[in-house]
Amino acid sequence: MTAMTKLKGLATVAGFAATLFVGGATVASAEDITLTMAVPDWPPTRIMKKMFDEQYKPASGNKVTLDVDFIPWPDFYTRVNASLTSGEQKYNFAVSDSQWLGAFVEGGYFRKVNDLIDADPELKATMEQMHPAVVAAYSTYPHKTPNYYGFPQFPDVIVTYGRKDVLCNDEEQAAFKAKFNAKLPCTGEEIDDMDWDMFEKIGQFFMRKKGDKLAGQVLDDDFYGIAYQAGKGYDFSSMQINGFIWQYGGNTWDETQIPTGQAEGVVNSEAAVKALDHYLRLIQYMPPVAKTGTMDIFKSDELFREGKVAMNLDWIGLGEASLDPKSSKVSDKLVFGLMPGLRGADGKIIRWSNIGGQPFVLTTWTTDAQIKEAMGFVKWWLSPEIQHQFAAGGGQSAIKSVYEDPKYVTYRPWNRAWAASLDWQKDVWHVPQFFELLTQQQDQFDLAITGKQDAKTTLDNIAKFQQNLLKEAGLIQ
C-alpha cells in the first residue's frame, strides 16, 4: 500500500465517520425553512406530503421544506408522546387524535392558534366554513370552548359498509321478507334508513354455516351477519358504544360539564345500561373473534374485505382497502350508507355517533419564521381547490363549500353518507386524563364483550372510576 492510497483510505473512513456523526441533521441556510411534521403513515398523510411537494409554492418566496416523519400507526402515539413529553422538541407539527388535545395542551406542547386565525381574515373565513362538529372535536380545548388548537387533517366518521351481492340477491330478499316481513336493505338509501333492530335482523339472518347456501352459492366457510368494533385495544369499542349511549339518551362525562357534571349516575344511567346491553346483544351475530376481545376496527374491516360478513360498521378512513381489488374480495360489491340509529317512538331515527379523524396541531417551540410558513401551508391545505384534490385522492373535507359541492359524492362511494353524518357527530373528553379514562373504560367494556360481566356492573365500575379520578383531578366537585 502506498502512502497515497493509505491517505485516501483514511479520508474515506473519516468521511464515513463524519456522516455517521452528523447523521440526519440538515444544514439550513437563512431563507430555507424546514417544517418537521409527525404523522401516521397512511394514505391521507402520504397524499398530503405528495401534494405539498408537487404543488405548494409559499407566498413568502422562501424555500419551504415539509419534513414529514411517517410513523406507523400502531406506534404513533408512543412516538409522538415520548417526543413531546421528553422535551425532544423535534416536531413543529403533529397530527393528533382529538382526545389527545387536553393532555398536550396542558403539558404546554400544543400552541393555541386563536391569534393566528384572528390575524388572518381569510383563514378565519375558512374556519367558519368548517362544520362545527369538526371544529369542536378537532380544535377546541376545553371541549367546545372557543380556544382553538388544531386544523383538520383527515376528518372521519363511521358508516355502514354493505355487500350488494348478498343484500340485493333475490333469494335472500325473498327469504328475509318471509322471515321478518320486512324489506332487506339493499340500496344506499335503504341502508340510510336502517335502525339497530333491522341491523340485528340482518345479523341474525346472515348467520350461515359452512355448506349452507348464501345468495345461491354453497359456502365453503362460515358466514356471519354483521361486524363492528368490539376490541380491547385503544378506543376500539368506546367509539361504537358511545354512539349507542347517546342515541339511548344517555350521556358521557366531558369537560364541558365542569364543574357540576358528575360521572356517577350519568355514565351508568339506566339509558346507558340499556344502550350497552343493546350493543352487547348484537355481538352474537359477529364472527367468533369478537369473543376474544380483539375485534378491532382493522379486524372487522379485514373480515368484511375477506367476504366473511354481510355488513360492517367502520371508519371511512379504512375504506380504500375495500375498494382495491388486490386487498378486497368484495371490491365490486360494495354499498355504503349511514351508521344505523335507534328508532324513536315517533318512527324517526335518533342518530348520534362518535367522530373520528385527526387534526394537526402546531407545537409551542415552533419559531415565528416557521409559524409564518406553517400558516401559509395551513391556508393552502384548507383552500377549497386543494381540499377537493385531497377528497378526490381519498381524503375527506369538513369544509362546507367542498362537501356540499355535487362533485364531492362522486369521489368515493361512501361520500354520499359523509355530509349527512357530520351533523350528528360528537366527541368525548379531551382532558389530560383521557388515556386513563379510556384505558379503564376499554378494559371494562372488554369484560362485558367477552361475557365476563353484565352491562350494569360494567358501567357502574366505569362511573365509579371516573368519579374518583376526576374528583382527584378537581374536575368533578
Binding site: 396542558e106 403539558g107 367468533p288 380483539t294 379520578l469
Partner: protein, 353 residues
C-alpha cells in the same frame, strides 16, 4: 500479576501533572457548575462533557502510571453503561420520589408516597397486584417451558449425525424473528376465522374452536408463542454445555454400566449446570419484561395483563412518570431478589460438592 517494577507514587494533590485526577476532578466540577449556572444548556452540556473527558483522561493516565489494569479495562464499559443506562435509571429512581407527570409542568417531592400508592391505593394497587400475579404466572410457565423444550432440543442435537448443521439452523430461526412480526403472525395462526389452528381443530372435531376466548387459552397462546421463540436460546446454551462433556466420560460410564439417569446426574448435569443457570437468569429477566406478545395477542384481555404492559400504560400512555418509576423499581427489586436467589442456590450447590 507478575510486575517487577514498583508503580510510581501518586502525584501530590497540587502537582500540575496529567495524571493528577483529583485536581482535574475538582477543577471539572467547579467549571461545569459555573457553566451550568451561567451558560445556556446547549453550551453548558458541551463544557461539562469536555470537563468529564479531561477527568477521564487524568484518571486514565493515573491508572496507566500506577498499573490499575483492571480499572482501565473496565472503564470504557462502565462509562458507556453509565451514560446510556445507569444515569437514566438513577434519574428514574429520583423521579420515583416526586409527583411528576411528563405531560405536566409541575414537580413536587412526595417521598415514598408513590411507592405507597402503587402498593396500597384503592385504584392503583389492585391493577398492580393483578398484573404482578399474572407476570409471576407467565414467568413460571414460559421460563419452565423454555427450559424444558430448550433442554430436550439440545439433547436431540447433542449427537453427531448427518445434516445436523442444517437442521440446527431451522430450530434456531424462531429467535431471529422480530417479536412484533412473530406476535402479529401468531394472531393470524390463532385467529378463529382465518387461522390454521382453528381450522385444524374444526376439521378434527367439527366444532368451532376459539383459542383466546378464555384465560387458559389466552395464557397458553402467549406462553406457546414466547416459549417457541426463546427455547432456541436455552437450547443453544445447553447444547454448548452438552458438547463440552468429554466423550471419554460417557465411554467410561458405558464400561462401568452406569444407568442413563445416573449418567445424566453425575456426568452431564455438572457440565451444563452453569449454562442452565445463565439461561435461566437471562430468560427470567426477559420473562419479567414480557409485554409485546401480550399487547399483540390479547391487549391484556382475558386477565393476561402483565406488570411490564401495565408499566407501559402507566409510564407512557398515561404519562404518570413517577408512578411508573415506582412500579419499575419495585419490579427491579423483585427481579434482583429472584436472580440473587438463583445465584445463591447455584453457588451453594457448587460448593456443596
Amino acid at each position: 500479576m507478575t510486575s517487577t517494577t514498583v508503580p510510581a507514587a501518586p502525584p501530590a494533590f497540587t502537582a500540575f501533572s496529567p495524571d493528577n485526577w483529583r485536581l482535574a476532578l475538582i477543577a471539572g466540577i467547579v467549571i461545569s457548575a459555573v457553566a451550568i449556572a451561567a451558560l445556556p444548556s446547549g453550551v453548558a452540556f458541551w463544557i461539562t462533557g469536555i470537563m468529564m473527558a479531561l477527568v477521564a483522561i487524568a484518571a486514565t493516565m493515573n491508572a496507566v502510571r500506577r498499573r490499575y489494569y483492571g480499572g482501565l479495562l473496565v472503564a470504557p464499559a462502565i462509562a458507556v453503561l453509565f451514560v446510556m443506562n445507569i444515569f437514566p435509571l438513577l434519574w428514574s429512581l429520583g423521579l420515583s420520589f416526586f409527583a411528576y407527570q411528563s405531560n405536566q409542568q409541575t414537580i413536587r417531592f412526595v417521598g415514598l408516597n408513590n411507592y405507597i400508592k402503587v402498593l396500597t391505593n384503592d385504584l392503583a394497587a389492585k391493577d398492580n397486584w393483578a398484573a404482578l400475579t399474572n407476570t409471576a404466572m407467565f414467568v413460571v410457565f414460559t421460563v419452565a417451558a423454555q427450559m424444558v423444550i430448550g433442554f430436550l432440543l439440545a439433547l436431540l442435537f447433542s449427537k453427531q449425525f448427518p445434516l445436523r448443521k442444517y437442521l440446527l439452523i431451522l430450530v434456531l430461526t424462531p429467535m431471529m424473528l422480530s417479536v412484533v412480526a412473530a406476535g402479529v403472525f401468531f394472531t393470524y395462526y390463532y385467529d378463529p376465522t382465518f387461522g390454521i389452528l382453528s381450522y385444524i381443530m374444526r376439521e378434527m372435531t367439527g366444532e368451532q374452536f376459539i383459542l383466546m376466548d378464555n384465560k387458559a387459552g389466552a395464557v397458553a397462546g402467549i406462553v406457546f408463542a414466547d416459549a417457541w421463540m426463546w427455547s432456541p436460546f436455552v437450547m443453544l446454551l445447553v447444547l454448548a454445555g452438552l458438547v463440552s462433556v468429554p466423550k471419554y466420560l460417557y465411554e467410561a460410564a458405558a464400561i462401568d454400566r452406569v444407568s442413563g439417569w445416573r449418567q445424566f446426574r453425575t456426568i452431564t448435569f455438572p457440565y451444563i449446570r452453569g449454562l442452565l443457570m445463565l439461561a435461566l437468569l437471562f430468560r427470567t429477566i426477559e420473562a419479567f419484561k414480557i409485554a409485546d406478545l401480550v399487547i399483540l395477542l390479547t391487549k391484556g384481555g382475558n386477565d393476561t395483563m402483565t406488570i411490564s404492559y401495565h408499566l407501559i400504560r402507566i409510564a407512557n400512555e398515561q404519562n404518570k412518570t413517577s408512578e411508573g418509576a415506582a412500579i419499575s423499581y419495585l419490579m427491579l427489586f423483585m427481579v434482583i431478589v429472584l436472580t440473587n436467589l438463583y445465584l445463591y442456590l447455584a453457588n451453594r450447590r457448587t460448593q456443596g460438592n
